[in-house]
Amino acid sequence: MSHGLFRTEWVAGEPPDIHHMDVPTAYDAAKLGMWLFLATEILLFGGLFAAYALFHWAYPTEFHHASKELNWKIGAFNTCVLLISSFYAALSVDAAQHNNNKKVVRYLLITLGCGLIFLVVKYFEWTGKASHGLFPGTSGEHGAFNSPEFNHSYRMFFGLYYCMTGLHALHVIIGMAILAWAANLARKGRFSKRYYTPVEVGALYWHLVDLIWIYLFPLLYLVG
């Protein structure tokens, strides 16, 4: 079974040799498939958002104190980095729509660079928290708040923090792998306004990663 996307033989700028679909239908089908996948992603994160909403409602004061452990400046910086990365992902689609493979490569490399900056910042943030004893399921060295009730909800906040940002970071890594693959195809001159499905669906996935963070940043760093 020869699959269009992974075929090694192709004509530069031309869609894969798909005999059972015309070009626009194949493009629309791929895009709709990605939207359906993104819907399941929203539900995946939705479960964690629901858990966060519930425990935030149950322990507002404790969550407030726990979120003060996070540095909102770092969170805001990473938010801007992801927004800029999304902008360049959108531009990479635009470049493909204008038959410019060189610009597709350039814009995707900028997107990947932003993704890398995000992950490096997140790494230092996590290790910083961990060095203060704030692991998932622990409450750190907070003698001032040592009531059992407080420790319990403090643990809950950092459990949710690590789960949500961890799952999000996993998505950043997967998104970077997809965009790197698309950039490599662009480097070989693969795309044109008649065929750029990998850039389009890769960018859609990347925008979702950005969307999730748009909600995570105020929830974890600001509202808490």
């Binding site: 070009v23 939207w35 819907a39 629901a50 927004l83 925008h207 105020p218």
Partner: protein
Amino acid sequence: MSAHHHDSHSGHGEGFHGELGHVVPYKTYLAILIWLLILTVVTVAAAQVDFGAMNAVVAMIIASIKALLVATIFMHLKFENPVTWLYALFPIVLLAILLAGLFIDNPFRTDPQHATEAAQHAANRLAVILRIG
């Protein structure tokens, strides 16, 4: 798939239908990025003001405006067909049902004393309503 056979009208505002998807002008993308960055500053500024119980609501409203900008322009949802809109909206509806269910159910499921109080409160309300009726 009739959307692909629209006449291409180039230039201002909304861009044009390319050979496959919709082509959005560079300036529109840039304007959206600037709005997203401004709204990030607004979120941070709003967090310095205490709206009490509305803190989370204000933050979520701003986040949703940002999400709408990303989805409609960056992800081209604005130019997509109704089926794509359906795919984008149904998880949000399901999530709303989940949250509504949780917040209706939860007051009766915390610690036993809390649950007893909540049940007592509901019973009192019901008694008042019935007596008036």
